[in-house]
């Protein structure tokens, strides 16, 4: 059974006094398996937040189904197993972190005996252990984000749904959050998060989906997404004249006595590896040029639908 299973999800908003229809999600299909870290990528306005809100029951689908561990997202049973961090969260300003987490624990029906120990643990985990007496209105953006992460984990959920969890954090905070996510994964939890920051996603996710204009354009493991078309190999050569390269590859740069050439595939690489020494050149390094997630992402965004 999948942690999240989205089938043909459509969302049409009607807004304004004279209702104007706006189709934001166009038949999304998505499966998130148990125990994986899944990145939900897409440019601004692609519909990531809208999708996430339908998963957590803030938005009703116009059409299609969202299942969480096999149960409809609109049921309480489904929501018992999830934790949710909204994008740019905002909380009751007058509460202190402990009071706020106690409120969230009460909403989840957690016994006091459990929450009493879990709340300080969570505050420690997200790095707010020494800020327990500060009212939320005095929090910095990053501190609010950390508190948001703590409330998402209050019921020890099996599935965490995080809308841009790394935004508003400094590099240290981002590293800490990545570590928290990886630690949750090691404990068998499933993490579904949206992001613009591809490097961060690349560092922690197993699989990713790229959403553009309300449609899932690509979905798969990082290897499947990036290795599909290896952009070739980069070879650096010494003791060689540029004019003797002819036919072996494309020269991309020369620096002092070093020449950098690029070959597009395995046969080209094999040929270069045997020919260059034969012609008296010295191979210094061979670097495979993988497509980065960013290449794939940019490719999908620029493609016309």
């Amino acid at each position: 059974m999948d942690a999240i299973s989205i089938r043909n999800l459509w969302k049409v908003f009607r807004s304004g006094f004279i209702p104007r229809r706006r189709t934001v999600l166009r038949g999304i299909n998505l499966d998130v398996r148990q125990g994986e870290v899944f990145a939900f990528l897409g440019p601004n306005g692609a519909g990531k937040t809208t999708t996430i809100k339908t998963i957590v029951n803030l938005i009703r689908p116009t059409n299609g189904d969202v299942l969480i561990f096999g149960k409809k997202a609109s049921t309480i049973d489904a929501r018992r197993r999830i934790g949710f961090l909204p994008e740019n969260p905002y909380f009751y300003q007058y509460l202190r972190p402990v009071e706020f987490l106690q409120f969230n624990a009460d909403l989840c029906g957690l016994p006091r005996r459990v929450s009493r120990t879990r709340i300080p643990e969570l505050l420690q985990l997200v790095g707010l252990g020494d800020r327990t007496q500060l009212p939320i209105r005095k929090f910095s953006k990053g501190m609010v984000q950390r508190l948001g992460m703590a409330q998402a984990m209050i019921n020890d959920p099996d599935l965490l749904i995080l809308d841009e969890p790394l935004s508003g954090l400094d590099p240290i905070g981002r590293k800490e959050f990545r570590d928290i996510i990886l630690d949750l994964r090691d404990r068998g939890k499933t993490i579904f998060f949206s992001s613009h920051i591809l490097q961060d996603a690349e560092m922690i996710c197993h699989r990713a989906a790229i959403l553009v204009n309300g449609e899932v354009r690509r979905i798969g493991t990082l290897e499947e997404l990036t290795a599909q078309d290896i952009a070739g190999y980069e070879i650096s050569i010494q003791g060689f004249d540029a004019d003797r390269i002819s036919g072996l590859g494309r020269i991309i740069a020369t620096q002092d006595k070093t020449i950098f050439i690029q070959v597009s595939d395995q046969t080209g690489l094999d040929r270069a590896l045997s020919e260059i020494p034969a012609r008296g050149g010295q191979i210094q390094s061979v670097i495979p040029r993988r497509k980065t997630l960013e290449d794939v992402f940019m490719g999908e965004v620029q493609k016309k639908s």
Binding site: F13, T49, T50, K53, V56, N57, L58, I59, R60, I76, D77, R79, R80, I82, F84, P86, N88, P89, Y90, F91, Y92, Y94, L95, F103, N104, D106, L107, C108, G109, G148, Q151, N155
Partner: protein
């Protein structure tokens, strides 16, 4: 169903209301009005106690109504506007628990409000007559139930319209509510068959807030029909329940985005 979730929401919404400066302001004005009635009663001869009760009850009622409308229209709307609701609805609770929790928080706020203001009024009366006034107490109890009706109407309007529109609509219903009892008389006199039916339907749909008005009876120490207070309380609770049910139905379907 987890009553603990409703209680948690009620508690935070109560704390929020108590922190709202508007509450203190209106409370202050309520107390001021009662003080004023003391001053006026010094200046007039004879009917002092009646004037104290008249102005005092008007104060309890008017300021109670203002508090109800202002907090009622903003309490749910603010949660959506500030997005604090985004971490509440995804929790394993029913949406109706959110509305009931919010309402309960406001009901406690209003209860406290009426207790404080009516206590001040009783003290003002006590200083004059050296005895507590039961008719005034009875009138205050019914004011509280009127406020519950008004606050539920404010919540209903705010669940689908803007705060300003909700304010106007709630205020309008409050004013209409105090003359709507005339509709039943009109229905009896109205010509044709359709109009009387229409007026009758309106009579039952619109709140009849005169059911909660024992102010004149308290001022002039008039007798109150037996069972009137209890019937009014039942009417208030029933009307509030129906309006809350409507809010919940709207809330159940809406998107938060």
């Amino acid at each position: 169903m987890k009553p603990i979730a409703i209680a948690a929401i009620a508690l935070t919404s109560f704390r929020e209301a108590v922190r709202d400066k508007i509450l203190y302001l209106l409370l202050f004005f309520g107390l001021l009005l009662i003080a004023t009635s003391r001053v006026i009663s010094w200046l007039t001869v004879g009917a002092e106690i009646k004037i104290i009760i008249d102005i005092g009850l008007a104060g309890v009622s008017i300021f109670g109504v203002l508090v109800s409308i202002f907090i009622g229209i903003s309490i749910v709307h603010k949660e959506i506007e500030h997005k604090t609701i985004y971490t509440i609805i995804p929790k394993p609770i029913h949406r109706y628990q959110f509305i009931l929790g919010k309402f309960a928080g406001l009901a406690i706020t209003l209860l406290l409000n009426v207790i404080v203001m009516s206590a001040m009024l009783q003290i003002a009366i006590f200083l004059k007559t050296w005895s507590w006034n039961f008719p005034v107490f009875r009138a205050c109890v019914l004011i509280l139930f009127e406020l519950l009706v008004i606050v539920s109407i404010a919540i209903l309007f705010s669940s689908f319209s803007t705060p300003i529109l909700s304010f106007l609509l709630t205020l309008m219903l409050y004013l209409i509510g105090h003359i709507s009892y005339n509709l039943i008389g009109l229905a009896q006199k109205a010509p044709g068959t359709l109009l009387p039916i229409l007026l009758k339907v309106l009579y039952y749909v619109l709140p009849n807030l005169e059911n909660f008005n024992l102010k004149t009876a308290a001022v002039h120490n008039l007798p109150v029909p037996p069972g009137f207070v209890w019937a009014s309380i039942q009417y208030g609770l029933l009307y509030t329940a129906v309006v809350l049910l409507l809010s919940i139905t709207i809330f159940q379907k809406r998107d938060f985005s």
